[in-house]
């Protein structure tokens, strides 16, 4: 269903504003808009407005919390609004906004490096370490501690200059 009237457009804008401000439960400095997981706000075929979300990782436990938070906020704007989750196209960290990247850095998490386009490359064996900047002191002299951190979306690194451990948002 396409938007035909100004009133309908206003309804969608109001819903988008309500949904966009929902924070990520695990990295609360980021909103779902910063993360790039708020995919669309539109009218469904049956005329009901719906907010479309996409999950970050298949098993991310925050997805259900985000869905209910979005529903709670949009219900205040439009009780008829639904929240739907769509998998395709698959979310990528490249969709995190510039604003989101700045917030991550200030929060102490290194923002994700750009992903390569095309199929995910498999790199095996010992290989050159990627350059990841320490979000605290800015040094590029950092090392990987573990590919998997406190949540699936982060890896754990250590700065060799300021000696602080920090999280990196993994490129996906």
């Amino acid at each position: 269903m396409t938007v035909t009237t100004e009133t309908e457009l206003e309804r969608l804008v109001a819903l988008r504003l309500a949904a966009a401000g929902v924070p990520d439960p695990e990295i609360p400095v980021l909103t779902i808009e910063d993360l790039g997981i708020l995919r669309d706000v539109r009218f469904a075929a049956d005329g009901h407005p719906e907010v479309v979300l996409t999950p970050t990782y298949s098993g991310c436990p925050a997805t259900e919390a985000i869905r209910s938070d979005v529903l709670a906020r949009t219900a205040q704007v439009d009780p008829q609004a639904r929240v739907v989750v769509e998998l395709a196209p698959a979310w990528t960290t490249d969709w995190i906004t510039e604003d989101g990247r700045t917030k991550l850095r200030e929060y102490g998490i290194a923002p994700p490096r750009p992903t390569r386009t095309g199929p995910v490359p498999l790199q095996l064996g010992r290989r050159p370490e990627p350059v990841v900047q320490c979000p605290r002191c800015g040094s590029e002299h950092t090392e990987l501690v573990s590919q998997f951190g406190s949540t699936p979306c982060k890896s754990l690194r250590r700065c060799r200059d300021c000696a602080e451990p920090f999280d990196e948002f993994k490129p996906l």
Partner: protein, 259 residues
């Protein structure tokens, strides 16, 4: 597993549903095995890593089982918690017991490399939902492959003791890898319809990746000898019943419990 992750539309045929449940069972059962390491891994970073990999697999299992179950009106919970041993169709590689850390890592390398080839192919499936699930999951599995490869290099090309234990693990786990590439009637139907790859067609690329890692890890590829199979038809190893008992106990004791 209270609410489905996505709105579930039913697959087009019983064959696609059965196929989705097969892949979902693989992910679910390996996820459960990995979760058994929680609070028992050799270091805290590894505890987190194994739990994270288990979580990725659980997420994949949920979307696959919800999709496959929708054909017959069964939820992901019905499939995970209320089926009997002979009704599970996972590959035996996914269920074999954790053993020592080397066994777990060898199993993970063999399985993740297989899953990576599979999902990469499924991305262009004629079934839109399977293609969407695979396009997401393939990126997660790339990290699993990298994690397992790093450990294999460290263990295989480590001390004499770590090398020997890893070689012993490889010799013990290798026979279960053959079942990953076994074709049966359903697999052929699925391949003919362009829904998924023929399992046997994945082996060459899989073997290439796996051999590269094992060779660099100074490990020797075992001879192809014993080839246990039967997982796809519900035949499982002795340890599988105990796994189900633990996985299903809470749900069966408190039907419908939520928190």
């Amino acid at each position: 597993m209270a609410n489905p992750v996505t709105e579930v539309s039913a697959p087009a045929s019983a064959d696609v549903a059965t196929y989705a449940i097969r892949l979902g069972d693989d992910a679910l059962i390996l996820s459960h095995r990995l979760s058994e390491w929680t609070a028992r891994a050799p270091q805290i970073e590894e505890d987190l890593a194994l739990a994270n990999i288990a979580l990725d697999l659980l997420g994949q299992a949920r979307t696959l089982l919800a999709y496959g179950g929708a054909f017959s009106g069964r939820s992901e919970d019905d499939l995970a918690y209320l089926r009997e041993e002979r009704q599970f169709t996972n590959l035996q590689l996914a269920e074999i017991e954790n053993g020592d850390f080397a066994v777990t890592m060898v199993r993970q390398l063999l399985f993740s490399c297989y899953q990576h080839e599979l999902y990469r192919d499924l991305e262009s499936s004629t079934d839109a939902q399977l293609a969407a699930i695979a396009a997401k999951a393939v990126k997660e599995v790339a990290y699993h492959v990298e994690h397992a490869s790093t450990w294999l290099l460290r263990l295989g090309d480590g001390t004499e003791l770590s090398h020997d234990r890893t070689q012993a693990a490889l010799d013990a786990v290798w026979p279960y890898s053959h079942e990953l590439f076994g074709d049966d009637e359903l697999a052929r139907t699925i391949a003919d319809a362009g829904v998924g790859p023929l399992p046997s067609a994945l082996r060459e690329a899989w073997l290439g990746t796996v051999s590269d890692v094992l060779t660099e890890a100074t490990l020797t590829l075992p001879d192809d000898d014993w080839k246990p199979s039967g997982g796809r038809t519900g035949l499982h190893t002795e340890g599988f019943g105990y796994l189900l008992a633990e996985m299903q106990h809470l749900h069966r004791s408190h039907p419908g419990a939520q928190w």
